[in-house]
């Protein structure tokens, strides 16, 4: 029997609000203010431009753009910013969240439903936030005989591994978290961790459905790893480098999908299999084995695995864009930063504000990011489209597809690349 929630009373709500405000004020006056004064007495404030730095002066610095913009610019070149915000976790998580919402709406349209509709007034735009709050406030139930440390750690490791994958993707010229020489091999190394985490999570649950799902995930990833690796060899052969930034820069005239379409198709199919998406969603086949290796995960553990899998989806789509669709390359559509603002300043009524340190972001970077995001969104669309269109394949057909047909196509692709290089079409003296 669940307890029915008591009726909402406005007077009670206002009383609780006033209570909270009273306690916050009391604690601030009794503890907060004395602490601030004690710190001000103990710490010697620095002298800047012949003036003693008082809290008032510090606040006036904060709202002065000529002082804050260089600090922001310096901060944007640090590793911390890159890891946390732009080409790293924040950017990827934003795109992943958008993907989840777009996928739910798109599936609904394909299946003649409305999808998320009420939360957030407009087309259910806040549904994702509501789901997050729901997941975080749900009880986490762990099977009694489960291996608890591994069971807790596996979803976190899944997200962290997906984040490490995101770190290797170049978004705009110079905007990449880890610009390593062997970038593509590092990608393969990171991808190799996913089946291990899956099988660890499945084994630690000590339940039958997760175990079956984990074994399926293992076989699926094993049989599609080799087509995945071999399908990208053609790109490496015609560019002669493994650095992902250099591979993107080499496609300024033609994207490689023009010359190596077979490799692109094989990589796309192997990507769908690695992402465990329909038609290759055997590890989480919900009509056969409940939810596969996710069966025993509840509450936030499930939420973390979902976040990790969508980060992985973004990273794979971005890898496809970087390798075959030309990454950040595209016609310049972003207008240049207006010169008058730099030379003369902004006129706001009687005052003229001249700001040093503008522009914060270069035109190339904005344009590259725009094209990268557009292409990535397009690829993500084609990744989530099969979910509404195709049925699931059988396990033996899956293994047969991965081991015979795709590997055969990969070899054809390698010989096409070899022919293009030796015929002088690509490489030194060729088109690019």
């Amino acid at each position: 029997m669940s307890v029915i929630a008591p009726d909402f009373k406005l007077s009670g709500f206002i009383k609780s609000l006033l209570d909270n405000i009273f306690w916050i004020l009391l604690l601030f006056v009794l503890i907060g203010l004395p602490a601030v004064f004690m710190i001000l007495i103990v710490i010697e404030m620095p002298i800047i431009d012949g003036e003693l730095l008082t809290p008032f002066l510090a606040l006036s610095y904060l709202v002065n753009p000529t002082r804050t913009l260089p600090v922001i610019q310096a901060f944007m070149t640090t590793d911390i910013f890159r890891v946390m915000a732009f080409p790293g976790f924040g950017f990827a998580a934003l795109l992943a969240a958008g993907t989840i919402f777009a996928e739910r709406k798109m599936m609904a349209k394909i299946q003649l439903r409305v999808g998320p509709f009420y939360c957030g007034k407009f087309e259910g735009i806040l549904q994702l936030m509501g789901d997050g709050l729901k997941l975080i406030s749900k009880e986490i139930i762990i099977p009694a005989k489960a291996d608890k440390p591994i069971f807790w750690a596996a979803p976190v490791l899944f997200v962290a591994t997906a984040a490490a994958f995101v770190a290797l993707i170049p978004v705009a010229p110079g905007w990449v978290v880890a610009d390593v020489d062997l970038g593509l091999l590092a990608v393969f190394a990171v991808i190799g961790f996913f089946p291990i985490i899956t099988i660890l999570s499945a084994w630690s649950a000590n339940s039958k459905y997760p175990f079956i799902g984990g074994i399926r995930a293992l076989f699926q990833m094993v049989s599609f790893e080799i087509p995945l690796i071999l399908s990208l060899l053609g790109v490496v052969m015609v560019t002669g480098t493994l650095n992902l930034s250099e591979i993107t820069a080499s496609q300024s005239n033609f994207p490689w999908i023009v010359f190596l379409p077979i490799g692109a198709i094989v990589f796309f199919i192997a990507m769908l299999a690695e992402l465990e998406r329909i038609p290759f969603d055997l590890p989480e086949a919900e009509s056969e084995i409940v939810a596969g290796w996710l069966t025993e995960l509840s509450g936030m553990l499930y939420g973390l695995v979902q976040l990790g899998s969508y980060l992985k989806l973004y990273a794979f789509a971005a890898l496809f864009v970087v390798l075959f669709l030309g990454g950040w390359n595209g016609p310049m559509v972003v207008p240049p930063f207006p010169e008058e603002i730099i030379t003369e300043g902004i006129e706001m009524g009687p005052i003229t504000l001249s700001i040093e340190g503008l522009p914060l972001l270069t035109q190339e970077m904005l344009n590259g990011t725009l094209w990268f995001v557009l292409k990535t969104v397009g690829v993500i669309f084609f990744i989530i489209l099969p979910r509404g269109v195709f049925p699931r394949v059988r396990v033996d057909l899956l293994l047969d597809l991965g081991w015979t047909k795709l590997i055969g196509l990969c070899f054809i692709n390698i010989f096409i690349a070899l022919g293009l290089v030796y015929a002088g079409v690509l490489g030194p003296g060729g088109l690019q």
């Binding site: 590793d79 890891v83 790293g88 976790f89 975080i136 406030s137 749900k138 009880e139 986490i140 139930i141 762990i142 099977p143 009694a144 807790w152 997200v159 962290a160 984040a163 490490a164 770190a167 880890a178 610009d179 390593v180 020489d181 593509l184 091999l185 590092a186 990171v190 649950a205 000590n206 339940s207 039958k208 459905y209 175990f211 076989f219 094993v222 790893e225 080799i226 690796i229 071999l230 060899l233 490496v236 052969m237 002669g240 493994l242 409940v290 069966t295 025993e296 509450g299 936030m300 973390l304 293994l399 081991w403 015979t404 590997i407 070899f411 390698i414 070899l418 290089v421 030796y422 490489g427």
Partner: protein, 124 residues
Amino acid sequence: MVGELAGNYSTVVLMFAFGIAAMAPALVISRMISPRKRSNPVKFLPMECGQVPSGEGRTHFMMQYYPYILMFVVFDVMAIFLYAWGAALLELPKSATLPMMGFLAIMFGAMAPALYLSGKRRIW
């Protein structure tokens, strides 16, 4: 030199660590604000569609696809070896491709009988 090379990869590790540092608090907060009721031991049994679970959770499995795992161990390494050649293809003389053709022939030639044998159910 080696340290410099390894240092390039430190941001990947940093990103991995940030993933852990950002996501572990979500679990901790969830554990703090979510209800924890230990009222019923049946709740903590493994999920078997509403039935009382029978037998061990980690059952012995008939590994029907075991030969594919064996093939993976061999051919994954061979596929990575191809990258050393592919990345240097533009600098190599054309005569250096002939040994690679031999390597590919061995790889293909080994894969075909391996696939044929792994398809025969009786011997596994």
